[in-house]
């Protein structure tokens, strides 16, 4: 049964997923104030109803963001419960960090429609609005993105279904022996059983592990634009966005800090980070700090656009930039761009390097296509199951944990079958959060198809 508890504290991003200038994270439930106070400073002791406060979010002493927090005392709130709304900057990283902090403080990531459901139960919505819960339950975002996510989740549920079938098989073997009144069924082949249980755990843990990749799909692909000073990174960003987001000048080092903005390409969200140029002869402390941030951004990126100025010969800074990309996360993609293609070419492109002109637009379509190629591939072949929802992630992680405990039980001398079954049942119940309940009938079907059970 997957009816949500309405008496615990939930947290979720209230604004649409993907990048926006401002995002709102909402907490609702009896522990909403306490949870928010655990990461907001100065910690609001007795928050005034509906008054906005400017506060800081800290994660282990590190400043994450300056936010505006609104506290609503139930029942005078959207959900009728104590509610905190935190407006932060729309960076997926910040959003994610705040969500993590809320969860660490005891909130649970809300399922789709849960805030609306609570609002409805508190008598805050009318029927038409409440019926919208049905759509909220099935829908995430809109358009191509939704279709894509649906497909990814479809292939996820296929994988989960396969894993579940394996668990039902294992459980049937235990249950058949527990329910065998005449003790006719030969004893369990423990070694083989343990091996299969371990394999199932691995698959499920692997799916849970894909959450990182899935987050990229939900929140957008993070693309870092890096290169030597004055290579044309900011101009490229502005050209990609179609508006002047970054300040540009012919002077090297105009961009001192990282700068973020997002773009929707074919329904896929791409989040760009423009970075300070990597200068081999960095002089000022400020410049070195900028470069440190660039390196950090590269390490977090899903893809890095390495920009070289095609109108000049190679420099020591180009070599440094090339070296810095080694810090890219495994699996992240490197896209090479030879900028300023409108000017006479002064160096030889390396293999795969795209000539692009921010001025004339040459090469931009090819670049944008290359940026979303990775995401598109995930959706198209459908072979790659990716977990995109925190709820599914939690369910899979818990199932993997139960199966870990099952393995501990199986390692005992005389493994207690009814307890091993209990672990498998719990793991199946967790997977039920994704696929719906496992009924005893499924298990019995497993028993009867493989065992000849007497009266």
């Amino acid at each position: 049964m997957q009816l949500p508890d309405i008496n615990d504290t939930i947290a979720a991003q209230a604004t649409p997923p993907g990048a926006g200038a401002i995002a709102v994270i909402r907490l609702s439930g009896p522990r909403a104030f306490a949870a928010a106070a655990s990461f907001l400073s100065p910690a609001p002791k007795a928050p005034v109803h509906a008054a906005a406060r400017m506060l800081s979010v800290h994660d282990g002493g590190r400043l994450v963001d300056k936010v505006v927090a609104l506290f609503f005392h139930g029942p005078a709130s959207y959900t009728g419960q104590d509610t905190v709304e935190i407006s932060c900057h729309g960076s997926p990283y910040i959003i994610r960090t705040i969500m993590n902090l809320a969860v660490r403080a005891g909130a649970r990531p809300a399922g789709p429609g849960e805030f609306t459901l609570r609002a409805f139960l508190a008598g805050k919505l009318d029927l038409a609005q409440a019926e919208g819960v049905a759509e909220l339950i099935s829908a995430g975002s809109a358009g191509a993105h939704l279709a894509a996510i649906t497909q990814v989740e479809g292939s996820l549920s296929q994988k989960v279904r396969a894993a579940k079938a394996g668990l039902v098989g294992l459980l049937s073997e235990l249950e058949a022996r527990l329910d065998d009144s005449y003790e006719e069924i030969p004893a369990l082949r423990l070694k083989d059983f343990s091996r299969r249980a371990a394999a199932a755990r691995k698959v499920i843990a692997g799916l849970a592990g894909s959450f990182e990749a899935g987050r990229g799909i939900r929140e957008g692909c993070k693309v870092v634009i890096a290169g030597a000073p004055n290579a044309g990174k900011s101009s490229l960003l502005n050209a990609l966005l179609g508006r002047d987001r970054a300040m540009v000048s012919p002077e090297a080092g105009t961009t001192r800090d990282t700068l973020e903005d997002s773009l929707e390409i074919d329904g896929f969200s791409v989040l760009f980070t423009d970075t300070a140029g990597l200068n081999a002869r960095a002089a000022s402390r400020l410049e070195r700090e900028g470069m440190r941030r660039t390196a950090a951004a590269i390490a977090r990126a899903d893809a890095v656009i390495l920009v070289r100025d095609g109108s000049i010969r190679g420099t020591a800074s180009d070599a440094l930039a090339q070296k810095e990309t080694a810090a890219m996360a495994p699996g992240a993609r490197l896209i090479r761009v030879l900028a300023k293609a409108d000017l006479p070419l002064r160096r030889k492109p390396v293999a795969g390097e795209l000539p692009v002109s921010a001025k004339t637009g040459t090469g931009l379509p090819r670049l944008t296509a290359a940026l979303i190629a990775g995401q598109k591939k995930i959706f198209k072949d459908g072979a790659q199951a990716v977990v995109t929802s925190a709820r599914h992630f939690a369910a899979l992680s818990e199932a993997a944990q139960e199966l870990g405990k099952l393995q501990e039980l199986l390692a005992r001398k005389d493994p207690p079958a009814e307890l091993a079954a209990e672990r498998l049942r719990a793991a199946l119940a967790d997977l039920g959060g994704i696929l719906g309940e496992t009924t005893p009938e499924e298990v019995l079907a497993g028993i009867f198809s493989s065992f000849c059970v007497g009266k």
Partner: protein, 586 residues
């Protein structure tokens, strides 16, 4: 046929005197309702038509629950036990189950006497022919002899008798059990009232005479020593205990069966109705599990005063000549004689999705159904339903609130919930796998779970209250690590308290989680869906869910979630609609 109106009205009439009927009538009478039990034959009250045993894995827990609710089955089994066994002793306490081979005649005699001596209960030999109604409610029964009995509520426990048809080979004849006439009139009456009836099939093996069995070639299965009673109300089992015997089919057995399948009513297409998967006929086993070289057979004595043996594992409806060949292909049975042939029986059952969770039918208020007529199989399943239906019929007649047991309270709750929420497509048998709270629903704690309710209702006599309260206090003390006080004289003993406390401790971690889960779900168990909820108008629900819910009409939100094909999202939405309705905004 002379019509005769019986001069007094009863509170409750129970139709049928099998395992469901006897428990129903006794429970009704215990609650102080004047009760009539109608049976075709008083000599076959509580007859064990198939195997000579009570209990088993899952079933033994049901018997313990019946006992905790003041029922008779455990006591009758103890009085007639000839071979007591605790199953799953090598496994944990949660799945340990009692079973006893019983002397069939002694079992019947014990039950018949209990029925005869129950104050307020009258058992009469006559066949129920028609359910009488007034203003859309059941109000009595007309019998085949033409007597009309009036009642406040009626319980149907027709077993396999409604339009029963027996098959041996390709021969068929009408009967509710071998040599007992079927009950065709009742089936017709129910159809006329608008009940949806279907057909199910079950079977029984042949019986052999001891004289032809070479026991030296069989493995001896020793009974428990000392025998362990089912009931806390049985001081001690005093009957001598007999062994059972184990042998197995041979390659020749499979050969004989495969050669005779064209004469099998199951495989020639003569029987289309579904039989139980878990109690397959030997022809089914051979066909479906060809890789199993041999199948175990258990030779079980049918009583102390008979030499008949029941051949557990050889249920069949093949022709008699083939049955003899099969028997004689088994080591130890080469010279055995069949004294009763095995057979299959097809019968009408009433779709249990037409019931509510009290076992009252939705089709006709005041009419309850229990036992095999609801699509179950097994004496224990029947008895447990009988007890609930009988008690609820009495409570209804008395204008009191009916009882419903939850899935986390009792196997009985699991069974009734399954029947009502899901219906059946084969005869339903209890398994511990069906219980999601298996570690909570144990044989050892049945009294702790259910006796308080039985005492409050009057199913258990008030004078037991002191003994039970002390028993419960002893378990609590032991759980808290304290020394329990000595118990007053009564059925509950300190040894049982110690066993339960020790078991609870072993399972503590798991039980805690189960309890929390049950607690969480309980909220939804209490969210009732009104009888008249209009699913057709709930257009926010997807089509499939709407149809399924319309058909099963779950009584609570939690039950809605268990209807196959209904997703968690559907339930969430249904909840919204219910809340809205409750708040009067629809």
């Amino acid at each position: 046929m002379a019509d005769f109106n019986y001069p007094a009205a009863f509170d409750v009439i129970v139709i049928g005197g099998g395992h469901a009927g006897c428990e129903a009538a006794l429970a009704s009478a215990r609650l102080g309702a004047s009760t009539l039990l109608l049976t075709q034959d008083l000599d076959t009250l509580a007859q064990m038509s198939c195997n000579p045993s009570i209990g088993g894995v899952g079933k033994g827990q049901l018997v313990r629950e019946v006992d905790a609710l003041g029922g008779q089955m455990g006591r009758a089994a103890d009085a007639s036990a000839l071979s007591s066994q605790t199953l799953n002793t090598s496994k944990g306490a949660a799945v340990r189950s009692p079973r006893a081979q019983c002397d069939k005649k002694m079992y019947q005699a014990a039950m018949k006497l209990a029925v005869e001596r129950a104050p307020g209960l009258l058992a009469v030999q006559d066949e129920a022919a028609e359910i009488l109604t007034r203003a859309g409610r059941a109000c009595g029964v007309r019998t085949a002899r033409g007597t009309r009995y009036a009642a406040g509520a009626v319980v149907v426990t027709a077993g396999t008798f409604m339009r029963g048809l027996i098959h041996i080979g390709l021969d068929t004849f009408r009967g509710g059990r071998y040599n007992h006439p079927p009950s065709d009139l009742l089936s017709k009456s129910l159809r006329g009232l608008g009940f949806r009836l279907g057909r199910l099939k079950t079977g029984t093996p042949m019986r052999l005479l001891a004289r032809g069995i070479d026991f030296t070639r069989c493995e001896r299965q020793a009974p428990n020593s000392p025998p362990v009673p089912f009931s806390h109300f049985t001081g001690k089992i005093t009957n001598p205990q007999l062994p059972c015997w184990i042998t197995r089919t041979s390659a020749r057995t499979a050969e004989v069966i495969r050669g005779a399948l064209h004469n099998s009513p199951l495989y020639s297409g003569k029987i289309n109705s579904t039989g139980p998967r878990y109690c397959p006929s030997i022809e089914d086993k051979v066909v479906k599990f060809p890789h199993h070289g041999a199948h175990h057979l258990f030779l079980e004595p049918e009583g102390f005063n008979t030499d008949e043996y029941y051949v557990n594992g050889l249920s069949t409806s093949l022709p008699e000549a083939t049955q003899l060949e099969i028997v004689r292909s088994v080591p130890g049975l080469e010279k055995a004689e069949i004294v009763r042939a095995g057979y299959a029986i097809e019968y009408d059952y009433s779709d249990p999705a037409q019931l509510d969770y009290t076992l009252q039918t939705r089709v006709l208020p005041g009419l309850f159904m229990a036992g095999q007529v609801n699509g179950t199989t097994g004496y224990e399943e029947a008895a447990a339903q009988g007890l609930i239906a009988g008690a609820n019929a009495a409570l209804l007649a008395q204008g009191k609130e009916l009882i419903v047991l939850r899935r986390d309270e009792a196997y009985i709750g699991v069974m009734i919930d399954d029947l009502v929420s899901k219906g059946v497509d084969e005869p339903y048998r209890m398994f511990t796998s069906r219980a999601e709270y298996r570690l909570l629903l144990r044989a050892d704690n049945a009294d702790l779970r259910l006796a308080p309710r039985a005492l409050a209702l009057g199913l258990l006599p008030k004078n037991l209250e002191k003994s039970f309260t002390a028993y419960r206090a002893a378990v609590d003390a032991l759980l808290a690590g304290k020394k329990p006080k000595a118990l007053p004289r009564g059925p509950w003993k300190l040894a049982a308290a110690r066993f339960t406390a020790a078991t609870e401790k072993t399972y503590a971690m798991y039980i805690e989680r189960s309890r929390k889960e049950a607690e969480r779900l309980k909220k939804f168990e209490h969210l009732r869906i009104p009888e008249d909820f209009d699913y057709a108008a709930a257009r926010a629900l997807p089509n499939e869910a709407r149809h399924k819910l319309q058909r099963h009409r779950p009584g609570t939100l939690a039950q809605a979630g268990r209807v196959p094909g209904v997703t968690p999202a559907d339930v969430q939405l249904l909840w919204v609609l219910l809340e809205k309705r409750r708040r009067g905004t629809v």
